[in-house]
Symmetry: C2
Subunit: 140 residues, 2 copies
DNA sequence: GGTCTAGGTTGTAAAGTGCAACTTGGTGGC
DNA sequence: GCCACCAAGTTGCACTTTACAACCTAGACC
């Protein structure tokens, strides 16, 4: 097998390995929110405001699933919904104060865990790794 | 926020994004097997033989979950079980001929998809990306 | 206006998962 | 040898996540 294929296999295996354990770790890190729900909240924050359809497209989830998760986030008081003034069919989602606080807390805890994990990485290595992942992710 | 923390945030976000979509893509690529079930079969192949407890430890899953997935794999004829001669409590799992064939097919399809995705990456970039992922995964 | 499309919601069913209780087989103290 | 304890798996149970389908409402286009 060519080196390139061997490297691609390694990439596939490692990414899959990460996915397998992600849920478990996410549950430890954010006991109150599932990985997907947390990610949705995070995306809503990143975008400032977005519609449920955007979430469905981004996460490759059915709109019904998104609808339920969004309902859950609203019941938890982490996001607010308002009808889109430009299109009454949709609704605009925004993070609430509590939602932003939760995200900030989670980011801090996450960063602490990550700092520890990457102690023996140089800044250059981290930057390149992040660059590769971003490049890979852009192909999704 | 320091550059290093920004890069760590990007790494976390991209890895999580991958995890979110992994199941969906896995379902497309292996319609008959879930991501976890497929991964279990793959690990059994990698190890040659292993016990259910090994799978539970590796995937951070409850032994009951593993028990059910292993039962499913056996019903599909993809693995075989035999009592461990050295410890009658456990059982040794092996991939069957069908299981090996399925893994080979999946690896081939996966490789094709990956080749396409990485067409505009240089060999060096791919090798470095794989190296970073392996290094990251080693910390698990 | 009528038809078609898009965003969301709800009903339903299936799969994955963890916890707890249980069975069986090994280990170690007495 | 016997009894208590631990380890590997299995099963019952409840909960969560998810997709598909049917439906409702609101724009879009003719």
């Amino acid at each position: 097998m060519p080196d390139r294929d061997a490297a691609l296999d390694a990439i596939q295996r490692e990414l899959t390995a990460f996915a397998r354990r992600a849920r478990h770790k996410a549950a430890q890190m954010h006991p109150d929110l599932s990985l997907v729900t947390y990610s949705m909240l995070d995306l809503v924050k990143e975008r400032g405001s977005c519609r449920a359809a955007d979430l469905a497209a981004h996460f490759m989830l059915d709109k019904s699933t998104v609808s339920r998760q969004v309902t859950a986030l609203e019941k938890l008081g982490l996001i607010t919904r308002e009808p889109d003034p430009e299109d009454q069919r949709g609704q605009l989602l925004h993070p609430s104060e509590d939602g932003l606080r939760l995200l900030a807390d989670a980011a801090e805890r996450r960063r602490l865990a990550f700092r520890e994990r990457f102690t023996d990485w140089t800044d250059d290595d981290i930057a390149r790794f992040a660059g590769y992942l971003t490049r890979y992710g852009a192909g999704d």
